[in-house]
Symmetry: C2
Subunit: 190 residues, 2 copies
DNA sequence: CAAAGCATGTAAGCAGTTACATGATTGT
DNA sequence: ACAATCATGTAACTGCTTACATGCTTTG
């Protein structure tokens, strides 16, 4: 359950409730978990059992009781151990690539439409990313180095979408250039 | 279970046994599933129940009985329906980005080492990809268009690793440029 | 003689998602 | 009136992974 480390990361910044963590995950571009209750609340309970976090229960008048989680020294050590451990490859699953790989039965127009749909979702995503970056989600910024890293990670996300979009566009123009032989395109010479 | 469509894709090329499919998944750069038995054999059984594939049982003398799966017309329609449906965003999970985001407690040397480890696994992966491309795994190639698409997908995979490597290197040099303030680097002027 | 390949399948579990359940409060 | 926010939690499910189990054959 590697979301544990992601949670410890947030708690190494400042204390959070489960509800706040959920929003952090949901709002961020790069922490990519859906931020569902099951995982977050479950992981927090387990981290507490393991001694990596403390719980402070804060009853409130007008709202439900908050449980504020804070990282312990042990939690910091675990996080640090993770950072000093193995680097894992980024793991990408791109279903559109699989669709393209098996698109032999599509005619030219249908393939162009598939690529067009892909371009559109990428464009939308890029706009959404830029929007969020413009609004600027709250982030640690405890040092110039940390701010630099966060900025670079966000940029990385956007530019990987942009690279994918450029790839899709160039593939679309290449397959269009191949011309007929797959229906949809009527031959000009003849 | 989207692996169903990936399997239907292979079967739209030619018949396969579960064992062969397993190897296809394991060997390919872009089909990214681990190719574990449970999923493949299970999906094949389900596809058969649903009428998307047929089974031909081939007893052998020296080896266990093979079950050769072939796609049906219904299976082809399902595959086609998937290709004509929604395009999904690529989904990337990059744990190293999360490590970097929470690396504030690391000193300059430790952060450089983290980036270095990341660079190394990326370099290894790039070499492995090139190696496989050079050897050239068997692929459909039923038309120039299909060959083009497969080539572009493979290139995409490699160049996304290369882009990530370039990103890591430039980030490493930027954090090195920031100099002291995080230990590990002794200030020169003074 | 050990390892890898051929070929099937099962068991157990972690990871991750959507949806459900409760219930007051605040904003449109 | 309806939706969103605050805040916790549970249930049911899919997806995916590792490891186990069998047993013969070929290669090093």
């Amino acid at each position: 359950m590697s979301i544990k480390y992601a949670i410890l990361g947030f708690l190494s910044w400042r204390p959070f409730t489960g509800y706040e963590l959920k929003k952090q995950f949901a709002d961020s571009l790069s922490f990519h978990w859906s931020g569902n209750n099951n995982q977050i609340y479950g992981a927090l309970i387990q981290l507490h059992k393991e001694g990596a976090v403390t719980i402070e229960v804060q009853p409130q008048e007008k709202y439900p009781t908050r449980k504020v989680y804070a990282i312990t020294e042990l939690g910091r050590q675990w996080l640090r151990g993770w950072l000093l451990g193995e680097a894992e490859l980024p793991e990408e699953r791109n279903l559109v690539h699989i669709q393209l790989a098996w698109a032999e039965a599509l005619d030219g127009g249908e393939l162009a439409a598939l690529l067009g749909r892909y371009e559109r979702v990428l464009e939308d995503q890029i706009i959404m990313c830029r929007e969020r970056l413009r609004r600027g989600a709250p982030e640690p910024a405890r040092s110039p180095r940390e701010s630099l890293i966060w900025r670079r990670i966000d940029e990385n996300r956007v530019s990987s979408y942009e690279a994918e979009l450029a790839w899709a566009r160039s593939l679309a123009s290449e397959v269009a250039g191949l011309g007929a032989g797959h229906g949809g395109v009527r031959e000009v010479a003849g």
